[in-house]
């Protein structure tokens, strides 16, 4: 895709973008195309932060920002568009200030909301290039499906732990996200960054690459990552590019635009086992001094952020190992005839741990997963 060049660049713009203008592949025409172009950044977190700054600095003419969140201290390990001075302020405002400082000619449109079924088409239809900087599967599928329906390129980035992924999904010329990953993983296989962790610089690398792809698309230069996916391994420092295939039976991009019906993606557990308990209900049972055992399966480092009073620390890998060695016998401190509450950071590892407990002979009726884990426990530090 190429946008039509804007009529002219001001003297200030000619000075600011001088390093672009001397690039023969880019030149003044590329810069004018950027100025005429527009991009929608969905999510201003780890990916969206660097992407927003570089797109602003590069001279994209109009940028939409979609994010409903405010800046929190735990964001600052990776979300570099924000800082201590703006804690508690909306991320779209924080990012806007930084972006305008880099490029005062930029037009920024703030959308303080979450992308949802009601607003997706209206928002995405207004921009040339869409940048997926979201942090959850349901929104990623909504971004994809809407982009396919509207014929928009979706610059995809994803990170977790030390892994990063990048692609450009443009169903007019290649596969869409659903061609590659038709459905999200069940909840127990899809930890988020708060649960599994992420090295702060990982979204920095991938967010910058997303900005690169968006700039290429708008300026009409280079070869976009359509039909390819970059796999970045931060621990090995390797970049591998994979050729990925369009699925002729894709439930979204094989259809005509008018036949694509946007739907909500619901995350489900593969096979939930045991019961669940909310933080308030658990507090009530503790206040009533009911006999119960609380097992915290997070890692010892995570315990430093706070523990439920009286809980037993039993990291998930050690719990699994102990259960495997117990041959069906109850573990020390975990009798089979009492209610056991299992907790982790967000409820995923604890859910998996409950399966191991059941497989080892514990009664599923006596096992309860703390819903949303420690992130829902009052006073606990959340990420």
């Amino acid at each position: 895709m190429r946008t039509d060049p804007a009529p002219s660049l001001s003297d200030a713009e000619l000075r600011r973008f001088g390093r672009h203008l001397v690039l023969p592949e880019f030149g003044i025409e590329g810069q004018r195309r950027l100025k005429a172009g527009s991009a929608l950044l969905i999510g201003l977190g780890g990916l969206g932060s660097p992407a927003a700054l570089y797109l602003a600095a590069a001279g994209v003419g109009r940028i939409g920002l979609v994010d409903a969140d405010v800046v929190e201290e735990t964001n600052l390990q990776r979300q570099i568009a924000h800082g201590y001075a703006v804690l508690g302020k909306p991320k779209i405002d924080s990012a806007r200030t930084r972006m305008l400082d880099l490029n005062p000619d930029l037009v920024i449109e703030r959308h303080r909301m979450r992308l949802d079924l009601e607003n997706a088409v209206e928002l995405i239809s207004q921009y040339d290039v869409i940048i997926d900087g979201t942090d959850n599967f349901p929104t990623r599928y909504l971004v994809n499906d809407t982009c396919v329906k509207l014929g928009k390129p979706n610059v995809f980035g994803g990170v977790l732990r030390f892994d990063g992924q990048l692609s450009v999904f443009d169903a007019r010329h290649g596969p869409c996200y659903r061609c590659i990953f038709p459905e999200p993983p069940p909840i127990e296989f899809s930890p988020n960054c708060a649960e599994a962790g992420v090295l702060g610089v990982m979204p920095g690398v991938i967010g910058c690459l997303q900005a690169t792809e968006a700039i290429k698309l708008l300026a009409g230069i280079g070869t976009p990552m359509i039909g390819r996916m970059l796999i970045y391994d931060g621990l090995d420092l390797s970049f591998n590019t994979m050729r990925i295939a369009k699925d002729s039976d894709c439930r979204v991009c094989s259809k005509a635009s008018e036949d694509i019906v946007l739907t909500e993606t619901v995350m489900v557990c593969a096979a939930p086992v045991g019961g669940t308990i909310r933080a308030e209900a658990l507090q009530g049972r503790l206040d009533a001094q009911e006999p119960l055992i609380i097992v915290d399966v997070r890692s010892p480092d995570e315990w430093l952020t706070g523990r439920i009073p009286g809980s037993i620390g039993f990291p998930k890998p050690e719990l699994e190992k102990a259960l495997a060695q117990a041959n069906g016998a109850p573990l020390s401190g975990l009798p089979m005839d009492q209610d056991i509450i299992v907790a982790c950071q967000s409820g995923m590892r604890s859910s998996a741990s409950i399966k191991f407990l059941v497989a080892a002979g514990y009664d599923p009726k006596r096992l309860f997963n703390l819903e949303q884990g420690m992130s829902a426990w009052p006073g606990h530090v959340t990420f």
């Binding site: 994803g158 892994d163 993983p185 960054c193 994979m242 050729r243 699994e320």
Partner: protein
């Protein structure tokens, strides 16, 4: 022996190794051999005998769906990359 490239999210099953060498004649054999390391891993990669649809496998940088799927042959110099979908941002 062929090499399996393991994403960091699955390295708890590979003793934290990013590359595992193993003998296998096809992608199916390689993944089966890898999955033998843990029931949890088996469950992560497969629903019964079917590769889960949030896991992509590539041989030498090419999605096996562009080749011969799970029956794609592999040899000693081939690299098999496992890609798990990640949503973090």
């Amino acid at each position: 022996m062929a090499v399996i490239l393991v994403p960091s999210s699955l390295r708890r099953y590979s003793d934290q190794q990013s590359r595992l060498s193993l003998s296998a004649g096809t992608i199916a054999e390689a993944l089966a051999r890898f999955a033998e390391r843990s029931k949890d891993l088996q469950n992560h990669l497969f629903a019964g005998k079917t590769l889960r649809n949030f896991v992509v496998v590539c041989k030498n940088g090419k999605d096996i769906r562009l080749l011969n799927g799970m029956e794609t042959p592999i040899g000693d110099t081939d690299e098999v990359q496992i890609i798990a979908s990640v949503a973090g941002g």
